[in-house]
């Protein structure tokens, strides 16, 4: 119907003039009807008549009469008339074509939709925590509480203002403070001070200020200068400075002596006191860093030596106990004091020894006889080492004596020695350790040989011991020095030629399989010039020599055979005579039974090490080792290598530096005792603040409420209903 009506205005468009005529007719008709109805006498409501042009369709009273229907076409007449409203017309057209609105959803359905929407939105909101959570889970270390509370400093005034004096003591103090009107806030000036400041005249104040400024400037200059001076590293400068100072003091003292003896006495006392202090302290005692370094330098440097001596002298001077003047010997006192400066020991020392040696200055030599040869020996060596060396020398002398005593006994143990060894080198010093060490080594080697029961005849033992004896000094010598005589090398080569022949006889040829025995070069005595690298190879050779008698290969073969035997599956004989048979002596179990109860071994699988002559592969599970083995790959690891690597990397302080150790052992979660750990917040996680989010979230429900207005506060609505 609406569509039909819609059509009308379009159709009636061109017939406007005709319609005006129609209206006129309709009006007449209505008047006629009205008059008729009045005649009939019934009370009828009549539309108010107006004589205006737009009487029929007014904006207030759409329908002319009660019986007349509003026709859309009539309403839309002006719209169709003006081209400006064409859009509106189109929209109306479209609206006409649309279907009717569906029925509203049931309450449950509606709620479900709302829930779903809310859930998806909440899930989206929560997604913002994903990166935070991931980061926290992966974090090497988490320190709780997350929000570190910052300590705020409250200003003093604030604290004071809230504080009240309660106890009598506090009140008393407060009253005192208030009496003097002590200020609490800045500026910290009492009224009196303020008044006095104000009382000062302007010029005076300016003058005073200038003075203060100058003083401050001067102070800063001096400070800067002092700092600069303090930074000077030159020792010479400081020395000169110190000397200058002391000279000055002396001069002043002398001046004073002349002019004012009393003051001079005081000064003297001061100097004396300084001396005593010095004595108490440990300065000039040759213990400082400088002194130690100078001791080393003194050997080469005359100046250093002198400086050393000077210091010692000073120490002597300072540490000298001054006899009190009250002592009776007045005349001798002077001489003593003079002598005190240079101890008589020094004078003694000057006779026989190097006068420059500072170490001999302070010493009283109890037995000069011993001292003198030591002196002679050590004159080349450094002064600093002298004291320990001296004791060493003494011990060495003792050793010499002992070695002399032991001499014949030792020769018994090494009868071959003179044959092999060339004439001893001229310097006697290395010979002593050589002899001594061999004894020890011999002993150990015998021990080693005692461990091998099978071989080692008496001859072999002696020969090997000889070798060891010979080898040992060789080592010692090579490490000590290479000063030996040139003919030494010849001797070694000789010995080297001799050796292999003997060795070949000793080693079991069969045992060494196909491998040709290597001729072992035996450096019996060190060659003249030996590199540092030789020491290593030397060592290896020595070991080779020492264990040459072991039939390692044979042992290994034997062991392997044994292992093979052990791994072979064995037959089990479970035959018990007398079971199910007649018993008695001389009876044997039947062959059938034997067959029945004899369990044959399973055929052996091929050993894995069958083709590996130098390896024994055990296929047994080691129960002892199982306790230490992880039998499953733990979770976060992807392969066994990864896991093994993680186990092999040590974390302890024995293998790692302090810093690395701390880093490696840092705990995953750190909590501070006594601190409340609060739940994480958006601020902690540096997320956009909660407020914006919640505001945004609040807007959305408003929109939603428009669709379901009752959803909002069901409780309230219920109440309203009740009322």
């Amino acid at each position: 119907m609406a569509a039909a009506e819609e059509d009308e205005p379009i159709l009636s468009g061109p017939e406007e003039e005709e319609e005006a005529g129609d209206e006129e007719a309709a009006k007449r008709h209505r008047q006629l009807v009205d008059t008729l109805s009045t005649l009939s006498g019934g009370k009828r409501l009549r539309a108010t008549e107006r004589t205006e042009a737009s009487r029929q369709i007014s904006e207030f009273d759409v329908g002319g009469g009660a019986d007349e229907k509003v026709v859309l076409s009539e309403l839309l007449k002006p719209a169709s008339a003006s081209p400006a409203l064409r859009r509106l017309r189109k929209q109306l057209n479209k609206a006409q074509q649309k279907k009717a609105v569906k029925l509203p959803l049931s309450k449950e359905e509606n709620e479900r939709v709302v829930r779903e929407a809310a859930y998806t939105q909440t899930a989206q909101d929560l997604a913002k925590w994903d990166p935070v959570v991931r980061q926290n889970r992966r974090a090497e270390q988490l320190v709780f509480p997350l929000q570190q509370e910052s300590v705020t400093v409250a200003p003093v005034e604030e604290v004071i203002s809230s504080w009240q004096a309660r106890t009598p003591l506090e009140q008393e103090i407060f009253s005192l403070l208030h009496k003097t009107q002590q200020p609490i806030k800045d500026p910290l000036l009492t009224p009196y001070e303020k008044a006095s400041l104000q009382a000062m005249s302007l010029e005076e104040a300016q003058l005073r200020r200038m003075e203060l400024q100058r003083a401050r400037a001067l102070q800063s200059y001096y400070e800067a200068k002092a700092r600069r001076k303090g930074k000077i590293k030159s020792k010479k400068y400081h020395k000169v400075l110190r000397k200058g100072k002391s000279r000055k003091v002396l001069q002043e003292f002398e001046m004073l002596q002349k002019s004012n003896p009393e003051a001079a006495l005081e000064q003297l006392e001061k100097i004396e006191k300084a001396r005593i202090e010095e004595r108490m302290s440990l300065k000039h005692q040759n213990k400082g860093r400088w002194a130690k370094s100078t001791v080393l330098m003194a050997k080469y440097n005359l100046e250093a030596r002198q400086a050393m001596q000077e210091q010692l002298a000073r120490n002597k001077e300072l540490t000298e106990k001054v006899l009190l003047e009250s002592d009776n010997e007045d005349g001798g006192n002077n001489s003593d004091a003079e002598g005190g400066l240079i101890p008589d020991v020094v004078n003694d020392g000057h006779i026989g020894m190097n006068p420059d040696n500072p170490w001999m200055l302070g010493k009283t030599c109890a037995n000069p006889k011993e001292d003198i040869p030591a002196q002679a020996n050590d004159s080349e060596e450094s002064d600093g080492e002298e004291v320990p060396l001296q004791s060493l020398m003494e011990s060495e002398q003792g050793q010499q004596g002992s070695s002399e005593l032991q001499g014949p006994g030792e020769e018994e143990t090494i009868p071959m020695l003179p044959d092999v060894l060339p004439p001893a080198p001229p310097s006697p010093a290395p010979e002593e350790p050589f002899l001594k060490e061999t004894l020890d080594r011999l002993h150990t080697l015998e021990d080693v040989e005692a461990l091998e029961p099978e071989i080692a005849s008496q001859e072999d033992r002696t020969s090997s011991s000889k070798e060891a004896v010979l080898l040992e000094p060789a080592e010692a010598k090579s490490s000590l020095q290479a000063k030996g005589a040139p003919d030494l090398s010849q001797a070694t080569s000789k010995a080297g030629k001799k050796k292999p022949a003997k060795r070949k006889a000793l080693i079991d040829l069969k045992a060494v399989l196909a491998e040709a025995p290597q001729a072992v070069k035996c450096p019996l005595v060190p060659s003249v010039v030996q590199d540092e690298f030789d020491a290593d190879t030397d060592q290896r050779r020595v070991i080779q020599e020492a264990f040459a008698n072991d039939n390692v290969m044979a042992d290994f073969m034997k062991e392997k055979r044994r292992a093979e035997e052990a791994s072979k599956p064995k037959a089990v004989d479970l035959v018990l005579p007398g079971w199910g048979e007649w018993g008695g002596t001389g009876l044997r179990p039947s062959s059938k039974k034997k067959k029945w109860f004899f369990i044959k071994p399973a055929p052996q699988t091929q050993r894995k090490d069958k083709h590996l002559p130098h390896v024994i592969l055990s296929e047994q599970r080691n129960i002892l080792a199982a306790g230490y083995q992880v039998n499953q790959l733990p979770f976060p690891f992807e392969n066994s290598q990864q896991f093994e690597r993680s186990i092999q990397a040590p974390v302890g302080p024995t293998w790692n530096t302090q810093r690395a150790f701390q880093r490696l052992t840092a705990p995953r979660v750190v909590t501070q005792p006594g601190h409340i750990i609060r739940p994480i917040t958006a601020e902690d996680a540096n997320l956009p603040s909660q407020k914006d989010k919640t505001d945004g979230a609040r807007k959305k429900p408003d929109l939603r409420l428009a669709t379901s207005p009752r959803k909002g506060r069901p409780h309230y609505s219920a109440k309203k209903k009740k009322r």
Binding site: L296, G652, W655, A666, P667, V669, R713
Partner: protein, 445 residues
């Protein structure tokens, strides 16, 4: 002639003060320190043994209640204060430092069903069997003043639980429905219902504070959004969930303590499958509380024990029990991550160390370093059989031990049956359902 002199920097070997330790120069050349793995293994073994030797978790017992303890609440601002409500309606406030009760008040007639503190710590709320919600001051009444609540709200039904918003003056109660209240009003801001059931517990999410979780007696867990005053989603499990607790560090995680002896950790965005099932209890789990670091949680069970679970592990790392401790009804992890409180049937609150072998008191830096090192070693070698055996060994009461064994057998039998059924039926007709999905009955939107 130039002479080379051996010189050392005294800073390397001179102590600054007498009290300093002697400096020991170390050479880290690995050749000098062989057998590192073996040595560290031995150290780890010793550390593990010592850990077991020193594992003495029980700290104190607070006695004074005259009935079983039904709920415990932590003070939000003070570590040394806790509140406990008993089955006779009595609420006690305790000082943990002195281990004494500092205040006692008769809050309700009948059970104190739930209790929570206000976020500022100035007052606390209790709900009880007498259908009231009461707000109390944290400080006791002054001399001569009567012990009276600040506010009392009389409801129509029994409230079974209460929780306070973490920031706003809003709290939520549960009973027949979840009510959200403004502190200033005597009628709820809104009531959230979804089906007819009695809801046993409601908890606010501590991070996204508009979220609520509740568990109802018709075996479901329901999530609500306070902003939109609507429920979000509901997951139905095999059996009833007693309580749930939100993770305080990961907004979307919560753990539910279930009657079927298990705990379920859910991501609230994926409710169709729990992230982890924590099984070790041998009876219904009654309460659960997260550690403030969000890495672990503690659960209280009807089997007279409490257990500590890592969030990402299915098995517990620790079990605490004593002869005298009966059914544990409520448990809390203190806010400094150091202690655990549990309230049980036999009227005692027990204080446990969260880390059984932890040393209490002042720890000097060296000691701390050594402890860290030991911890690291234990971690490193944790998979080795001997160490694992020692570190996992716990003594259990006989009934728990035997029940655990029984359940293991039952579980195994069930599994076997399932496998057999699958084996002997048409391929594909008996699907293999994962353990995690097995316990979820449905997810309702």
């Amino acid at each position: 002639m130039k002479v080379k002199v051996l010189s050392r920097n005294p800073d390397d070997y001179v102590r600054e003060t007498k009290q300093d330790l002697q400096r020991v120069p170390r050479n880290y050349d690995p050749a000098l320190h062989p057998f590192e793995v073996a040595r560290e293994y031995t150290r780890a073994l010793n550390a593990t043994k010592l850990e077991r030797v020193f594992a003495k978790p029980f700290v104190a017992s607070l006695d004074g209640h005259r009935d079983g303890i039904n709920c415990i609440a932590k003070h939000p601002e003070s570590l040394s204060t806790i509140l406990s409500g008993a089955c006779d309606g009595e609420v006690r406030i305790w000082n943990l430092m002195n281990r004494v009760c500092i205040r006692t008040l008769q809050a309700h007639e009948g059970f104190v069903r739930g209790m929570c503190t206000r976020f500022c710590g100035s007052s606390f709320f209790t709900v009880g069997d007498d259908k009231t919600v009461k707000q109390w001051k944290m400080e006791g009444p002054a001399y001569g003043e009567a012990e009276e609540p600040i506010n009392t709200i009389l409801g129509k039904t029994v409230y079974t639980g209460i929780d306070h918003h973490w920031k706003d003056p809003v709290f939520a109660t549960c009973g027949h429905q979840v009510d959200i209240w403004d502190e200033q009003r005597t009628s709820p801001l809104c009531s959230l219902t979804w089906g007819v059931d009695s809801i046993s517990s409601v908890k606010f999410n501590p991070i996204e504070m508009y979220l609520l979780g509740s568990c109802a007696s018709d075996r479901n867990i329901v999530l609500y959004d306070m902003r939109q005053s609507t429920a979000l989603k509901k997951v139905i499990l095999d059996m009833r969930t007693n309580t749930l607790c939100w993770n305080p560090m990961e907004a979307f995680l919560f753990t539910a303590a279930n009657e079927d002896y298990n705990l379920y950790t859910f991501d609230m965005r994926f409710l169709d499958k729990p992230l982890m099932i924590h099984m070790d209890h041998v009876s219904a789990v009654l309460d659960v509380d997260y550690s403030p670091t969000g890495k672990e949680f503690v659960s209280a069970s009807f089997d007279k024990s409490i257990r500590i679970f890592p969030v990402d592990k299915g098995r517990s790392r620790e079990v605490y029990h004593t002869k005298r401790m009966q059914h544990v009804i409520t448990v809390k992890w203190t806010s400094d991550n150091k202690y655990i409180l549990c309230g049980s049937d036999e009227m005692n609150i027990r204080l446990w160390k969260a880390n059984a072998s932890e040393k209490l008191g002042v720890i000097v830096p060296r000691e701390k370093a050594a402890m860290n090192y030991n911890q690291k070693l234990k971690e490193k070698f944790q998979h080795h059989p001997q160490i694992r055996r020692i570190s996992r060994h716990r003594h259990l009461p006989k009934n728990i031990y035997s029940q655990a064994k029984e359940q293991r057998i039952m579980r195994e039998a069930r599994r076997r049956k399932e496998l057999n059924r699958q084996k002997h039926s048409k391929p594909g007709s008996v699907p293999l359902v994962s353990e995690r999905k097995k316990h979820i009955v449905a997810v309702v939107e």
